[in-house]
Amino acid sequence: MPSKPDLSRQTPPTHLVRWQSRIYAIVGLSILLIVIAALATTVGSVKIPFLTTCQVLISKLPFYYATPVWPSGVETIILEIRLPRVILAGLVGAALATAGATYQGLFRNPLADPYLIGVAQGASLGAVIGFLLPTTWHGMGVGVVPLFAFVGAIVSTAIVYGLARVGKTLPVTTLILAGVALGALLGSIVSYLIISSGEKMHGIIFWLMGSFSLSQWTDVKLVLPYVVVGIAVILLYARPLNVMQLDEEQAQQLGINVERLKLVLLAAATLITAAAVSFVGTIGFVGIIIPHAVRLVWGADHRFLLPLSVLSGAIFLILADLIARTAQAPTEIPIGVITAICGAPFFLYLLRRRKKVIF
Protein backbone atom coordinates (compact mmCIF):
# COMPACT_ATOMS: atom_id res chain seq x y z
CA MET A 1 0.00 0.00 0.00
CA PRO A 2 1.55 3.30 -0.98
CA SER A 3 0.75 4.97 2.32
CA LYS A 4 4.35 5.76 3.24
CA PRO A 5 6.29 5.58 0.01
CA ASP A 6 9.67 7.15 -0.41
CA LEU A 7 8.17 10.07 -2.25
CA SER A 8 11.44 11.85 -2.86
CA ARG A 9 12.17 9.68 -5.88
CA GLN A 10 8.55 9.09 -6.86
CA THR A 11 7.66 12.39 -8.45
CA PRO A 12 5.69 11.86 -11.66
CA PRO A 13 6.65 13.93 -14.69
CA THR A 14 4.39 16.95 -14.55
CA HIS A 15 3.50 16.78 -18.24
CA LEU A 16 1.48 13.63 -17.47
CA VAL A 17 -1.43 15.60 -16.16
CA ARG A 18 -1.26 18.17 -18.96
CA TRP A 19 -2.47 20.77 -16.50
CA GLN A 20 -0.19 23.55 -17.51
CA SER A 21 -1.24 23.69 -21.14
CA ARG A 22 -4.90 23.56 -20.18
CA ILE A 23 -4.55 26.37 -17.67
CA TYR A 24 -2.90 28.43 -20.42
CA ALA A 25 -5.92 27.60 -22.60
CA ILE A 26 -8.32 28.87 -19.93
CA VAL A 27 -6.40 32.13 -19.54
CA GLY A 28 -6.04 32.52 -23.30
CA LEU A 29 -9.71 31.93 -24.00
CA SER A 30 -10.73 34.36 -21.24
CA ILE A 31 -8.67 37.10 -22.89
CA LEU A 32 -10.06 36.16 -26.30
CA LEU A 33 -13.60 36.34 -24.90
CA ILE A 34 -13.07 39.91 -23.68
CA VAL A 35 -11.53 40.98 -27.02
CA ILE A 36 -14.33 39.36 -29.05
CA ALA A 37 -16.97 40.91 -26.82
CA ALA A 38 -15.44 44.38 -27.31
CA LEU A 39 -15.16 43.76 -31.04
CA ALA A 40 -18.79 42.67 -31.28
CA THR A 41 -19.82 45.83 -29.47
CA THR A 42 -17.98 47.95 -32.01
CA VAL A 43 -19.40 46.39 -35.15
CA GLY A 44 -22.91 47.31 -36.23
CA SER A 45 -25.02 49.47 -38.48
CA VAL A 46 -23.63 52.66 -36.89
CA LYS A 47 -19.85 52.75 -37.35
CA ILE A 48 -18.07 53.35 -34.07
CA PRO A 49 -14.25 53.20 -33.90
CA PHE A 50 -12.88 50.31 -31.84
CA LEU A 51 -10.89 52.72 -29.68
CA THR A 52 -13.99 54.72 -28.77
CA THR A 53 -15.82 51.52 -27.82
CA CYS A 54 -12.97 50.54 -25.55
CA GLN A 55 -12.92 54.01 -24.00
CA VAL A 56 -16.66 53.92 -23.34
CA LEU A 57 -16.49 50.43 -21.85
CA ILE A 58 -13.48 51.20 -19.68
CA SER A 59 -15.04 54.43 -18.44
CA LYS A 60 -17.85 52.36 -16.95
CA LEU A 61 -15.51 50.21 -14.88
CA PRO A 62 -15.66 50.98 -11.15
CA PHE A 63 -13.03 53.26 -9.61
CA TYR A 64 -12.22 54.78 -12.97
CA TYR A 65 -13.14 58.25 -14.05
CA ALA A 66 -12.82 59.61 -17.56
CA THR A 67 -14.22 62.73 -19.13
CA PRO A 68 -16.44 61.74 -22.05
CA VAL A 69 -14.94 62.84 -25.36
CA TRP A 70 -17.54 61.04 -27.44
CA PRO A 71 -21.12 61.99 -28.40
CA SER A 72 -23.75 60.73 -25.96
CA GLY A 73 -25.54 58.91 -28.80
CA VAL A 74 -22.54 56.67 -29.23
CA GLU A 75 -22.58 55.84 -25.55
CA THR A 76 -26.27 54.94 -25.73
CA ILE A 77 -25.76 52.67 -28.73
CA ILE A 78 -22.88 50.88 -27.05
CA LEU A 79 -24.24 50.60 -23.53
CA GLU A 80 -27.99 50.28 -24.09
CA ILE A 81 -28.27 48.44 -27.41
CA ARG A 82 -25.15 46.47 -28.20
CA LEU A 83 -23.61 45.59 -24.84
CA PRO A 84 -26.67 43.86 -23.33
CA ARG A 85 -27.05 41.89 -26.53
CA VAL A 86 -23.40 40.80 -26.55
CA ILE A 87 -23.49 39.89 -22.88
CA LEU A 88 -26.72 37.94 -23.26
CA ALA A 89 -25.28 36.06 -26.24
CA GLY A 90 -22.21 35.22 -24.16
CA LEU A 91 -24.31 34.04 -21.23
CA VAL A 92 -26.57 31.89 -23.39
CA GLY A 93 -23.61 30.40 -25.27
CA ALA A 94 -21.83 29.58 -22.02
CA ALA A 95 -25.00 28.10 -20.54
CA LEU A 96 -25.83 25.89 -23.53
CA ALA A 97 -22.27 24.64 -24.00
CA THR A 98 -21.88 23.84 -20.30
CA ALA A 99 -25.25 22.13 -20.11
CA GLY A 100 -24.38 20.10 -23.20
CA ALA A 101 -21.05 18.99 -21.75
CA THR A 102 -22.79 18.09 -18.48
CA TYR A 103 -25.51 16.01 -20.14
CA GLN A 104 -22.96 14.26 -22.36
CA GLY A 105 -20.86 13.42 -19.31
CA LEU A 106 -23.75 12.42 -17.11
CA PHE A 107 -25.35 10.20 -19.75
CA ARG A 108 -21.98 8.98 -21.09
CA ASN A 109 -23.50 9.62 -24.49
CA PRO A 110 -21.85 11.75 -27.19
CA LEU A 111 -25.20 12.51 -28.82
CA ALA A 112 -26.64 14.18 -25.75
CA ASP A 113 -27.38 17.89 -25.97
CA PRO A 114 -29.12 20.32 -23.62
CA TYR A 115 -32.46 19.61 -25.28
CA LEU A 116 -32.32 15.82 -24.98
CA ILE A 117 -34.67 15.43 -22.04
CA GLY A 118 -37.46 17.74 -23.06
CA VAL A 119 -36.19 21.21 -22.16
CA ALA A 120 -36.50 22.64 -25.65
CA GLN A 121 -39.89 21.20 -26.48
CA GLY A 122 -41.25 22.26 -23.09
CA ALA A 123 -39.88 25.76 -23.59
CA SER A 124 -41.25 25.91 -27.14
CA LEU A 125 -44.71 24.84 -26.05
CA GLY A 126 -44.66 27.40 -23.24
CA ALA A 127 -43.48 30.12 -25.60
CA VAL A 128 -46.08 29.29 -28.25
CA ILE A 129 -48.85 29.39 -25.66
CA GLY A 130 -47.41 32.71 -24.51
CA PHE A 131 -47.54 34.04 -28.07
CA LEU A 132 -51.12 32.88 -28.58
CA LEU A 133 -52.49 34.32 -25.34
CA PRO A 134 -54.44 37.51 -26.03
CA THR A 135 -52.42 39.46 -23.50
CA THR A 136 -49.28 41.54 -23.40
CA TRP A 137 -48.87 41.25 -19.67
CA HIS A 138 -45.53 42.28 -18.22
CA GLY A 139 -44.38 41.68 -14.68
CA MET A 140 -40.98 42.50 -13.19
CA GLY A 141 -39.60 43.03 -16.67
CA VAL A 142 -40.59 39.59 -17.91
CA GLY A 143 -42.94 39.23 -20.80
CA VAL A 144 -45.41 36.42 -20.96
CA VAL A 145 -43.40 34.51 -23.59
CA PRO A 146 -40.15 34.08 -21.62
CA LEU A 147 -42.08 33.34 -18.45
CA PHE A 148 -44.15 30.60 -20.09
CA ALA A 149 -41.08 29.24 -21.89
CA PHE A 150 -39.18 28.97 -18.62
CA VAL A 151 -42.07 27.30 -16.83
CA GLY A 152 -42.63 24.96 -19.77
CA ALA A 153 -38.98 23.88 -19.80
CA ILE A 154 -38.88 23.19 -16.08
CA VAL A 155 -42.24 21.40 -15.98
CA SER A 156 -41.49 19.13 -18.94
CA THR A 157 -38.10 18.13 -17.51
CA ALA A 158 -39.72 17.46 -14.15
CA ILE A 159 -42.29 15.22 -15.85
CA VAL A 160 -39.56 13.32 -17.70
CA TYR A 161 -37.65 12.94 -14.45
CA GLY A 162 -40.72 11.65 -12.65
CA LEU A 163 -41.54 9.19 -15.44
CA ALA A 164 -38.01 7.81 -15.58
CA ARG A 165 -37.56 7.30 -11.86
CA VAL A 166 -37.57 3.68 -10.69
CA GLY A 167 -37.79 3.51 -6.92
CA LYS A 168 -34.82 5.43 -5.58
CA THR A 169 -32.78 5.23 -8.76
CA LEU A 170 -32.80 7.05 -12.05
CA PRO A 171 -31.67 4.80 -14.92
CA VAL A 172 -30.05 7.02 -17.52
CA THR A 173 -31.39 5.08 -20.52
CA THR A 174 -34.96 5.34 -19.24
CA LEU A 175 -34.45 9.05 -18.69
CA ILE A 176 -33.28 9.59 -22.27
CA LEU A 177 -36.11 7.50 -23.71
CA ALA A 178 -38.72 9.28 -21.60
CA GLY A 179 -37.22 12.62 -22.70
CA VAL A 180 -37.29 11.71 -26.38
CA ALA A 181 -40.88 10.41 -26.17
CA LEU A 182 -42.26 13.39 -24.26
CA GLY A 183 -40.27 15.70 -26.53
CA ALA A 184 -41.95 14.17 -29.59
CA LEU A 185 -45.36 14.58 -28.00
CA LEU A 186 -44.79 18.22 -27.06
CA GLY A 187 -43.17 18.88 -30.43
CA SER A 188 -46.25 17.72 -32.29
CA ILE A 189 -48.47 19.92 -30.13
CA VAL A 190 -46.17 22.85 -30.94
CA SER A 191 -46.39 22.08 -34.67
CA TYR A 192 -50.17 21.97 -34.49
CA LEU A 193 -50.34 25.27 -32.61
CA ILE A 194 -47.99 26.90 -35.13
CA ILE A 195 -50.03 26.02 -38.21
CA SER A 196 -53.19 27.22 -36.49
CA SER A 197 -51.57 30.41 -35.20
CA GLY A 198 -52.45 32.65 -38.15
CA GLU A 199 -50.58 35.94 -38.38
CA LYS A 200 -48.52 35.19 -35.27
CA MET A 201 -46.78 32.35 -37.07
CA HIS A 202 -43.79 34.42 -38.21
CA GLY A 203 -43.00 35.62 -34.69
CA ILE A 204 -43.25 32.10 -33.31
CA ILE A 205 -40.97 30.58 -35.93
CA PHE A 206 -38.46 33.36 -35.44
CA TRP A 207 -38.47 32.69 -31.70
CA LEU A 208 -38.01 28.95 -32.21
CA MET A 209 -34.90 29.54 -34.32
CA GLY A 210 -33.54 31.91 -31.75
CA SER A 211 -32.77 35.60 -31.80
CA PHE A 212 -31.05 38.19 -29.66
CA SER A 213 -32.73 41.13 -31.39
CA LEU A 214 -34.84 42.08 -28.40
CA SER A 215 -32.12 41.83 -25.77
CA GLN A 216 -32.23 44.32 -22.95
CA TRP A 217 -30.46 44.80 -19.65
CA THR A 218 -33.50 43.40 -17.81
CA ASP A 219 -33.05 40.12 -19.69
CA VAL A 220 -29.39 40.00 -18.74
CA LYS A 221 -30.24 40.67 -15.10
CA LEU A 222 -32.79 37.85 -15.07
CA VAL A 223 -30.64 35.27 -16.86
CA LEU A 224 -27.35 36.07 -15.14
CA PRO A 225 -28.03 34.66 -11.64
CA TYR A 226 -29.32 31.33 -12.96
CA VAL A 227 -26.43 30.90 -15.35
CA VAL A 228 -23.74 31.92 -12.86
CA VAL A 229 -25.05 29.77 -10.02
CA GLY A 230 -25.77 26.81 -12.30
CA ILE A 231 -22.35 26.89 -13.93
CA ALA A 232 -20.65 27.29 -10.55
CA VAL A 233 -22.41 24.19 -9.22
CA ILE A 234 -21.52 22.19 -12.32
CA LEU A 235 -17.86 23.24 -12.17
CA LEU A 236 -17.76 22.13 -8.55
CA TYR A 237 -18.78 18.62 -9.59
CA ALA A 238 -16.22 18.30 -12.39
CA ARG A 239 -14.10 15.65 -10.66
CA PRO A 240 -17.05 13.43 -9.64
CA LEU A 241 -18.27 13.77 -13.23
CA ASN A 242 -14.91 12.38 -14.38
CA VAL A 243 -15.35 9.39 -12.10
CA MET A 244 -18.88 8.92 -13.48
CA GLN A 245 -17.27 8.26 -16.87
CA LEU A 246 -16.30 4.82 -15.56
CA ASP A 247 -19.75 3.43 -14.91
CA GLU A 248 -22.23 3.88 -12.12
CA GLU A 249 -21.10 0.81 -10.22
CA GLN A 250 -17.44 1.81 -10.24
CA ALA A 251 -18.34 5.40 -9.41
CA GLN A 252 -20.18 4.17 -6.32
CA GLN A 253 -17.24 1.99 -5.37
CA LEU A 254 -15.05 5.08 -5.65
CA GLY A 255 -17.20 6.90 -3.13
CA ILE A 256 -19.66 8.80 -5.32
CA ASN A 257 -23.28 9.12 -4.33
CA VAL A 258 -24.41 8.55 -7.90
CA GLU A 259 -28.11 9.31 -7.48
CA ARG A 260 -27.45 12.59 -5.69
CA LEU A 261 -24.87 13.56 -8.30
CA LYS A 262 -27.35 12.91 -11.11
CA LEU A 263 -30.05 14.94 -9.38
CA VAL A 264 -27.79 17.93 -8.67
CA LEU A 265 -26.27 18.03 -12.15
CA LEU A 266 -29.57 17.49 -13.96
CA ALA A 267 -31.17 20.27 -11.93
CA ALA A 268 -28.30 22.68 -12.55
CA ALA A 269 -27.98 21.92 -16.27
CA THR A 270 -31.73 22.09 -16.82
CA LEU A 271 -32.03 25.36 -14.96
CA ILE A 272 -29.33 27.14 -16.95
CA THR A 273 -30.71 25.77 -20.22
CA ALA A 274 -34.24 26.87 -19.34
CA ALA A 275 -33.07 30.34 -18.31
CA ALA A 276 -31.02 30.73 -21.49
CA VAL A 277 -33.66 29.40 -23.85
CA SER A 278 -36.64 31.27 -22.44
CA PHE A 279 -35.37 34.70 -23.52
CA VAL A 280 -33.74 33.96 -26.84
CA GLY A 281 -35.41 30.82 -28.16
CA THR A 282 -34.15 27.31 -28.70
CA ILE A 283 -30.80 27.92 -30.33
CA GLY A 284 -29.46 24.63 -31.58
CA PHE A 285 -26.03 23.19 -32.22
CA VAL A 286 -24.06 25.11 -29.56
CA GLY A 287 -24.77 22.59 -26.82
CA ILE A 288 -23.68 19.55 -28.74
CA ILE A 289 -20.82 20.84 -30.87
CA ILE A 290 -18.88 23.12 -28.51
CA PRO A 291 -18.21 20.41 -25.89
CA HIS A 292 -17.03 18.02 -28.60
CA ALA A 293 -14.79 20.62 -30.18
CA VAL A 294 -13.25 21.33 -26.78
CA ARG A 295 -12.79 17.60 -26.21
CA LEU A 296 -11.05 17.24 -29.57
CA VAL A 297 -8.57 19.95 -28.76
CA TRP A 298 -8.00 19.68 -25.02
CA GLY A 299 -9.11 16.20 -23.94
CA ALA A 300 -12.00 14.70 -22.02
CA ASP A 301 -11.10 15.68 -18.43
CA HIS A 302 -14.16 17.55 -17.14
CA ARG A 303 -12.12 19.78 -14.87
CA PHE A 304 -10.96 21.49 -18.04
CA LEU A 305 -13.67 20.47 -20.46
CA LEU A 306 -16.31 22.35 -18.43
CA PRO A 307 -14.57 25.73 -17.97
CA LEU A 308 -13.25 25.64 -21.53
CA SER A 309 -16.78 24.91 -22.77
CA VAL A 310 -18.08 27.91 -20.81
CA LEU A 311 -15.58 30.20 -22.54
CA SER A 312 -15.80 28.63 -26.00
CA GLY A 313 -19.60 28.60 -25.93
CA ALA A 314 -19.69 32.29 -25.02
CA ILE A 315 -17.18 33.23 -27.73
CA PHE A 316 -18.95 31.11 -30.34
CA LEU A 317 -22.40 32.54 -29.73
CA ILE A 318 -21.18 36.16 -29.57
CA LEU A 319 -19.54 35.66 -32.97
CA ALA A 320 -22.60 33.87 -34.36
CA ASP A 321 -24.85 36.71 -33.22
CA LEU A 322 -22.46 39.25 -34.73
CA ILE A 323 -22.80 37.49 -38.08
CA ALA A 324 -26.57 37.13 -37.65
CA ARG A 325 -27.09 40.87 -37.30
CA THR A 326 -24.45 42.18 -39.75
CA ALA A 327 -24.28 39.69 -42.64
CA GLN A 328 -27.57 40.74 -44.18
CA ALA A 329 -28.19 44.05 -42.43
CA PRO A 330 -30.67 45.51 -41.84
CA THR A 331 -32.46 42.11 -41.90
CA GLU A 332 -31.52 39.70 -39.12
CA ILE A 333 -30.80 36.07 -39.83
CA PRO A 334 -32.07 33.68 -37.11
CA ILE A 335 -29.07 32.74 -35.02
CA GLY A 336 -29.87 29.02 -35.15
CA VAL A 337 -29.14 29.15 -38.88
CA ILE A 338 -25.76 30.78 -38.29
CA THR A 339 -24.65 28.40 -35.53
CA ALA A 340 -25.16 25.41 -37.81
CA ILE A 341 -23.78 26.99 -41.00
CA CYS A 342 -20.60 28.20 -39.33
CA GLY A 343 -20.25 25.58 -36.66
CA ALA A 344 -20.73 22.39 -38.64
CA PRO A 345 -17.87 22.86 -41.14
CA PHE A 346 -15.52 23.93 -38.36
CA PHE A 347 -16.44 20.90 -36.32
CA LEU A 348 -16.07 18.55 -39.26
CA TYR A 349 -12.64 20.04 -39.91
CA LEU A 350 -11.61 19.33 -36.30
CA LEU A 351 -13.03 15.84 -36.55
CA ARG A 352 -11.01 15.04 -39.67
CA ARG A 353 -7.82 16.66 -38.43
CA ARG A 354 -7.68 14.65 -35.20
CA LYS A 355 -8.67 11.12 -35.92
CA LYS A 356 -8.64 9.83 -32.39
CA VAL A 357 -10.99 8.62 -29.74
CA ILE A 358 -12.57 11.65 -28.17
CA PHE A 359 -15.33 10.31 -26.05
Binding site: L236, V243, A300
Partner: protein, 275 residues
Protein backbone atom coordinates in the same frame (compact mmCIF):
# COMPACT_ATOMS: atom_id res chain seq x y z
CA UNK B 1 -6.84 -2.80 10.29
CA UNK B 2 -10.23 -3.89 9.13
CA UNK B 3 -12.09 -7.10 9.53
CA UNK B 4 -14.81 -8.02 7.04
CA UNK B 5 -17.71 -9.99 8.49
CA UNK B 6 -20.48 -11.32 6.30
CA UNK B 7 -23.30 -12.54 8.51
CA UNK B 8 -25.96 -14.77 7.06
CA UNK B 9 -26.84 -12.58 4.08
CA UNK B 10 -29.69 -13.36 1.72
CA UNK B 11 -30.32 -11.32 -1.37
CA UNK B 12 -31.59 -11.51 -4.89
CA UNK B 13 -32.37 -9.63 -8.09
CA UNK B 14 -36.09 -9.06 -8.65
CA UNK B 15 -37.49 -12.61 -8.48
CA UNK B 16 -34.39 -14.73 -8.33
CA UNK B 17 -32.78 -15.43 -4.98
CA UNK B 18 -29.02 -15.45 -5.45
CA UNK B 19 -27.55 -15.65 -1.97
CA UNK B 20 -29.30 -17.85 0.57
CA UNK B 21 -27.58 -17.27 3.85
CA UNK B 22 -23.86 -16.73 3.37
CA UNK B 23 -21.56 -16.33 6.36
CA UNK B 24 -17.80 -15.88 6.39
CA UNK B 25 -15.09 -13.56 7.64
CA UNK B 26 -11.92 -12.03 6.34
CA UNK B 27 -9.37 -11.13 8.99
CA UNK B 28 -6.76 -8.35 8.65
CA UNK B 29 -3.60 -9.61 6.96
CA UNK B 30 -5.50 -12.50 5.45
CA UNK B 31 -6.12 -13.25 1.80
CA UNK B 32 -9.32 -15.20 1.32
CA UNK B 33 -10.31 -16.77 -1.98
CA UNK B 34 -13.93 -16.89 -3.07
CA UNK B 35 -14.37 -19.84 -5.40
CA UNK B 36 -17.32 -21.54 -7.01
CA UNK B 37 -18.91 -22.29 -10.36
CA UNK B 38 -20.25 -19.65 -12.78
CA UNK B 39 -23.37 -17.95 -11.50
CA UNK B 40 -22.96 -19.19 -7.94
CA UNK B 41 -23.02 -15.68 -6.50
CA UNK B 42 -19.33 -14.70 -6.21
CA UNK B 43 -19.74 -11.37 -7.97
CA UNK B 44 -23.00 -10.78 -6.11
CA UNK B 45 -21.16 -11.12 -2.81
CA UNK B 46 -18.66 -8.50 -4.00
CA UNK B 47 -21.45 -6.19 -5.08
CA UNK B 48 -23.20 -6.65 -1.75
CA UNK B 49 -19.99 -5.82 0.10
CA UNK B 50 -19.77 -2.49 -1.73
CA UNK B 51 -23.45 -1.73 -1.14
CA UNK B 52 -24.38 -1.79 -4.82
CA UNK B 53 -27.19 -4.10 -3.75
CA UNK B 54 -28.49 -4.57 -0.22
CA UNK B 55 -29.27 -7.90 1.40
CA UNK B 56 -32.81 -8.34 2.64
CA UNK B 57 -31.60 -10.47 5.49
CA UNK B 58 -28.38 -10.56 7.43
CA UNK B 59 -25.74 -7.87 7.51
CA UNK B 60 -22.22 -7.07 6.51
CA UNK B 61 -19.88 -5.58 9.08
CA UNK B 62 -16.75 -3.67 8.27
CA UNK B 63 -14.59 -2.95 11.27
CA UNK B 64 -17.61 -3.86 13.41
CA UNK B 65 -19.87 -1.32 11.67
CA UNK B 66 -22.83 -2.26 9.49
CA UNK B 67 -22.00 -1.07 5.97
CA UNK B 68 -25.60 0.07 5.49
CA UNK B 69 -24.83 2.90 7.92
CA UNK B 70 -21.51 3.98 6.35
CA UNK B 71 -21.67 6.88 3.87
CA UNK B 72 -20.41 6.01 0.37
CA UNK B 73 -17.34 8.13 0.45
CA UNK B 74 -16.24 6.78 3.82
CA UNK B 75 -16.93 3.25 2.61
CA UNK B 76 -14.67 3.89 -0.38
CA UNK B 77 -11.89 4.91 2.01
CA UNK B 78 -12.23 1.60 3.86
CA UNK B 79 -12.90 -0.80 1.03
CA UNK B 80 -11.42 -0.78 -2.48
CA UNK B 81 -12.60 -2.86 -5.42
CA UNK B 82 -10.96 -4.29 -8.51
CA UNK B 83 -13.97 -4.90 -10.75
CA UNK B 84 -14.16 -7.54 -13.43
CA UNK B 85 -13.95 -6.26 -17.00
CA UNK B 86 -15.29 -2.80 -16.22
CA UNK B 87 -16.20 -0.07 -18.66
CA UNK B 88 -13.48 2.56 -18.88
CA UNK B 89 -13.82 5.91 -20.69
CA UNK B 90 -11.57 5.31 -23.70
CA UNK B 91 -10.61 8.96 -24.14
CA UNK B 92 -9.03 9.21 -20.68
CA UNK B 93 -5.36 8.49 -20.17
CA UNK B 94 -4.18 5.66 -17.94
CA UNK B 95 -2.83 8.19 -15.48
CA UNK B 96 -6.18 9.98 -15.27
CA UNK B 97 -7.99 6.69 -14.62
CA UNK B 98 -5.62 5.72 -11.80
CA UNK B 99 -5.94 9.22 -10.37
CA UNK B 100 -9.68 8.59 -9.96
CA UNK B 101 -8.72 6.25 -7.12
CA UNK B 102 -8.00 9.34 -5.03
CA UNK B 103 -11.59 10.52 -5.31
CA UNK B 104 -12.74 9.05 -1.96
CA UNK B 105 -10.11 11.17 -0.19
CA UNK B 106 -11.06 14.47 -1.81
CA UNK B 107 -13.94 16.75 -0.90
CA UNK B 108 -15.96 18.85 -3.31
CA UNK B 109 -13.68 21.86 -2.88
CA UNK B 110 -10.37 19.95 -2.93
CA UNK B 111 -8.20 19.41 -5.92
CA UNK B 112 -5.46 16.87 -6.51
CA UNK B 113 -2.25 18.12 -4.93
CA UNK B 114 1.28 16.94 -5.65
CA UNK B 115 0.76 14.35 -2.90
CA UNK B 116 -2.06 12.65 -4.82
CA UNK B 117 0.05 12.62 -7.99
CA UNK B 118 2.94 11.06 -6.08
CA UNK B 119 0.70 8.36 -4.64
CA UNK B 120 -0.61 7.55 -8.10
CA UNK B 121 2.87 7.44 -9.58
CA UNK B 122 4.08 5.13 -6.81
CA UNK B 123 1.11 2.78 -7.28
CA UNK B 124 1.84 2.70 -11.00
CA UNK B 125 5.44 1.80 -10.28
CA UNK B 126 4.40 -1.10 -8.05
CA UNK B 127 2.06 -2.44 -10.71
CA UNK B 128 4.58 -1.87 -13.51
CA UNK B 129 2.25 0.45 -15.40
CA UNK B 130 4.26 3.69 -15.43
CA UNK B 131 5.11 3.30 -19.10
CA UNK B 132 1.37 3.33 -19.90
CA UNK B 133 0.69 6.60 -18.10
CA UNK B 134 0.11 8.78 -21.18
CA UNK B 135 -1.71 6.17 -23.27
CA UNK B 136 -5.46 6.36 -23.68
CA UNK B 137 -7.17 3.45 -21.94
CA UNK B 138 -9.09 2.64 -25.14
CA UNK B 139 -5.80 1.52 -26.68
CA UNK B 140 -4.73 -0.82 -23.87
CA UNK B 141 -4.97 -4.59 -23.68
CA UNK B 142 -7.05 -6.47 -21.14
CA UNK B 143 -3.98 -7.36 -19.09
CA UNK B 144 -2.71 -3.78 -19.02
CA UNK B 145 -6.13 -2.57 -17.89
CA UNK B 146 -6.18 -5.17 -15.13
CA UNK B 147 -2.87 -3.83 -13.83
CA UNK B 148 -4.21 -0.27 -13.99
CA UNK B 149 -7.24 -1.26 -11.95
CA UNK B 150 -4.95 -2.73 -9.32
CA UNK B 151 -2.93 0.49 -9.37
CA UNK B 152 -6.18 2.39 -8.89
CA UNK B 153 -7.20 0.32 -5.89
CA UNK B 154 -3.75 0.91 -4.37
CA UNK B 155 -4.16 4.68 -4.70
CA UNK B 156 -7.42 4.36 -2.77
CA UNK B 157 -5.30 3.39 0.28
CA UNK B 158 -7.97 1.21 1.79
CA UNK B 159 -7.47 -1.37 4.50
CA UNK B 160 -9.65 -3.91 2.77
CA UNK B 161 -9.58 -4.89 -0.90
CA UNK B 162 -12.10 -6.90 -2.91
CA UNK B 163 -11.16 -8.35 -6.25
CA UNK B 164 -13.41 -9.89 -8.85
CA UNK B 165 -11.28 -12.19 -11.03
CA UNK B 166 -8.12 -10.08 -10.78
CA UNK B 167 -6.18 -12.48 -12.99
CA UNK B 168 -8.84 -13.16 -15.61
CA UNK B 169 -7.12 -11.38 -18.50
CA UNK B 170 -3.52 -12.05 -17.56
CA UNK B 171 -0.94 -14.45 -18.91
CA UNK B 172 0.66 -16.84 -16.47
CA UNK B 173 3.64 -14.57 -15.79
CA UNK B 174 1.47 -11.56 -15.04
CA UNK B 175 -0.90 -13.67 -12.92
CA UNK B 176 1.98 -14.60 -10.65
CA UNK B 177 3.36 -11.05 -10.59
CA UNK B 178 0.03 -9.52 -9.67
CA UNK B 179 -0.89 -12.10 -7.08
CA UNK B 180 2.58 -11.86 -5.50
CA UNK B 181 2.13 -8.11 -5.31
CA UNK B 182 -1.28 -8.42 -3.69
CA UNK B 183 -0.07 -11.08 -1.27
CA UNK B 184 2.88 -8.89 -0.22
CA UNK B 185 0.69 -5.84 0.23
CA UNK B 186 -1.74 -7.90 2.24
CA UNK B 187 1.00 -9.13 4.54
CA UNK B 188 2.97 -5.87 4.87
CA UNK B 189 -0.04 -3.66 5.57
CA UNK B 190 -2.34 -6.12 7.30
CA UNK B 191 -4.95 -5.74 4.58
CA UNK B 192 -8.06 -7.86 4.50
CA UNK B 193 -8.21 -9.18 0.93
CA UNK B 194 -11.11 -11.06 -0.60
CA UNK B 195 -10.55 -12.32 -4.15
CA UNK B 196 -13.09 -14.08 -6.32
CA UNK B 197 -11.04 -16.52 -8.37
CA UNK B 198 -11.87 -18.97 -11.10
CA UNK B 199 -8.52 -20.69 -11.15
CA UNK B 200 -8.50 -23.22 -8.31
CA UNK B 201 -4.76 -23.68 -8.51
CA UNK B 202 -4.04 -19.99 -8.09
CA UNK B 203 -6.59 -19.84 -5.27
CA UNK B 204 -4.89 -22.73 -3.55
CA UNK B 205 -1.41 -21.26 -3.91
CA UNK B 206 -2.19 -17.70 -2.84
CA UNK B 207 -5.09 -17.75 -0.40
CA UNK B 208 -4.72 -18.67 3.22
CA UNK B 209 -8.36 -19.62 3.34
CA UNK B 210 -10.96 -20.46 0.73
CA UNK B 211 -14.71 -20.05 0.73
CA UNK B 212 -16.41 -22.35 -1.74
CA UNK B 213 -19.81 -21.04 -2.83
CA UNK B 214 -22.42 -23.18 -4.52
CA UNK B 215 -26.02 -22.22 -5.31
CA UNK B 216 -25.89 -19.18 -3.08
CA UNK B 217 -24.66 -21.08 -0.04
CA UNK B 218 -21.25 -21.70 1.48
CA UNK B 219 -20.46 -25.26 0.49
CA UNK B 220 -17.18 -25.44 2.37
CA UNK B 221 -14.64 -23.10 3.89
CA UNK B 222 -11.21 -23.56 5.38
CA UNK B 223 -7.62 -24.01 4.28
CA UNK B 224 -7.01 -24.95 0.65
CA UNK B 225 -6.36 -28.56 1.63
CA UNK B 226 -9.70 -28.73 3.41
CA UNK B 227 -11.69 -27.14 0.59
CA UNK B 228 -10.07 -28.37 -2.60
CA UNK B 229 -10.89 -32.03 -2.51
CA UNK B 230 -12.04 -34.39 -5.24
CA UNK B 231 -15.35 -34.73 -3.47
CA UNK B 232 -16.06 -31.01 -3.25
CA UNK B 233 -15.09 -30.45 -6.87
CA UNK B 234 -17.34 -33.28 -7.99
CA UNK B 235 -20.24 -32.00 -5.88
CA UNK B 236 -19.95 -28.34 -6.79
CA UNK B 237 -18.61 -28.30 -10.33
CA UNK B 238 -19.84 -31.71 -11.41
CA UNK B 239 -16.43 -32.33 -12.94
CA UNK B 240 -14.13 -35.27 -12.52
CA UNK B 241 -10.78 -34.10 -11.28
CA UNK B 242 -7.62 -35.21 -9.62
CA UNK B 243 -6.36 -33.27 -6.66
CA UNK B 244 -2.66 -33.63 -6.01
CA UNK B 245 -0.28 -32.01 -3.67
CA UNK B 246 1.95 -29.39 -5.21
CA UNK B 247 5.47 -30.79 -5.27
CA UNK B 248 7.05 -27.59 -3.97
CA UNK B 249 4.78 -26.65 -1.09
CA UNK B 250 2.33 -29.44 -0.43
CA UNK B 251 -0.75 -27.36 -1.26
CA UNK B 252 -3.51 -28.97 -3.30
CA UNK B 253 -3.30 -28.73 -7.08
CA UNK B 254 -6.09 -29.68 -9.44
CA UNK B 255 -5.89 -31.43 -12.77
CA UNK B 256 -9.04 -31.87 -14.75
CA UNK B 257 -10.04 -35.15 -16.22
CA UNK B 258 -11.56 -34.86 -19.68
CA UNK B 259 -13.20 -38.27 -20.05
CA UNK B 260 -14.79 -40.85 -17.83
CA UNK B 261 -12.67 -43.38 -16.01
CA UNK B 262 -9.35 -41.81 -16.84
CA UNK B 263 -8.88 -40.25 -13.43
CA UNK B 264 -7.43 -43.37 -11.95
CA UNK B 265 -5.07 -43.79 -14.89
CA UNK B 266 -3.86 -40.24 -14.51
CA UNK B 267 -3.35 -40.79 -10.82
CA UNK B 268 -1.27 -43.88 -11.51
CA UNK B 269 0.91 -42.00 -13.97
CA UNK B 270 1.45 -39.16 -11.52
CA UNK B 271 2.32 -41.53 -8.72
CA UNK B 272 4.74 -43.47 -10.87
CA UNK B 273 6.58 -40.33 -11.87
CA UNK B 274 6.48 -39.10 -8.27
CA UNK B 275 5.51 -35.63 -9.31
Amino acid sequence: MIKIEVQDICLGYSRKEVLKGVTFQVMPGEMVGLIGPNGCGKSTIIRALTRIISPYRGRILLDGKDIASIPRQELARMLGVVPQMPLLPSAFTAFEVVLMGRNPHLGLFDHESQRELDIVWYAMERTMTQHLARRRVGELSGGEIQCLLIARVLTQETKAILMDEPTANLDIGRQVEILNLIKNLCRENNLAVLAALHDLNLASQYCGRLVLINNGRVHAQGTPSEVITNRNIKEVYGAESCVYTHPANGLPAVLVNPGNGRASNLRKVMERDEV
